[in-house]
């Protein structure tokens, strides 16, 4: 099937509080499914109960963000086990060891390809994480 004929649809979280881009009136969706691939937007540490940004210790920020990513993927019928590529962006590269410590809890076996670096982030976020995943369940 030609790529331009693949069906394209918006991914939205079951929990509407986590639709951060819509709530902040930003010009992007949480994710797009194209064919069997899911492309998620960069996600920050949003409290899934209140929708507020949680700017505590970096370990908490990473845990919140990856928990929200899990929810986003499961909302689209996928899962963390189906992630193929992750980008982890930190505000401070000194946080990388602490980020790694939490990250491995979420991807304990056969982890995705990953690139992690630091650069300026918006809204005072300590981390922002995006991913590409495969649709559906593992075979």
């Amino acid at each position: 099937m030609a790529i331009d004929r693949l069906p394209r649809s918006v991914i939205e979280p079951v929990n509407p509080v986590l639709n951060a881009s819509r709530r902040a009136n930003l010009p992007h969706v949480p994710g797009i499914r194209i064919g069997d691939y899911l492309f998620l937007s960069g996600m920050g540490p949003i409290d899934p109960l209140t929708g507020e940004r949680r700017h505590g210790p970096i370990a908490d920020q990473v845990r919140t963000t990856l928990g929200n990513m899990k929810h986003m993927l499961e909302s689209a019928g996928s899962s963390l086990e189906r992630v193929v590529r992750v980008h982890v962006v930190l505000a401070d590269i000194a946080d990388i060891a602490e980020m790694d410590r939490v990250y491995r809890e979420f991807f304990p076996v056969d982890p995705p390809a990953r690139t992690a670096w630091a650069m300026q982030l918006r809204f005072g976020n300590g981390c922002e994480i995006e991913c590409v995943a495969l649709a559906g369940a593992s075979q």
Partner: protein
């Protein structure tokens, strides 16, 4: 039926000794996703710190090993992201980079970023797998 997800494990320790947080590459359907690579001795997994040019050379040699292990090749790379510790060093990276990819080279983005452990360059890519010939 969902696409198979396959972790690519090259025989060489190209991600560095003891690195278990990421797979070197993961294949999903038509695409191979390769992790951000830093300069590592593929025989020992030891980190190599040199110039931006020498680190670029080592990374792209290791990238070739990973793509081979994934049933892909430099010719089948579609998109590259290069992170350099300083954009002033981009020409030094470019000079080496240009020797690796046949014409026409893949799409690419280069940006300056803070990198861990004194790394000068990090390179990741997306390539087509042999399942899509």
């Amino acid at each position: 039926m969902s696409l198979p997800r396959e972790v690519v494990a090259p025989p060489e320790p190209v991600l560095g000794a003891g690195r278990v947080l990421a797979s070197a590459a993961v294949r999903g359907g038509a695409f191979v996703f390769v992790s951000g690579l830093t300069a590592v001795d593929p025989a020992t997994g030891e980190a190599i710190r040199g110039t931006t040019a020498s680190e670029t050379q080592r990374i792209l040699e290791n990238l070739e090993l990973i793509l081979e292990a994934a049933g892909s090749s430099l010719e089948r790379v579609v998109k590259v992201n290069v992170l350099v510790h300083s954009m002033l060093e981009a020409p030094n990276m470019n000079e080496i980079y240009a020797r690796f990819f046949p014409e026409p080279p893949p799409a690419r983005t280069v940006c300056g970023a803070r990198l861990p452990d004194g790394v000068k360059v990090m390179i990741e890519c997306t390539a087509l797998s042999d399942g899509d010939r």
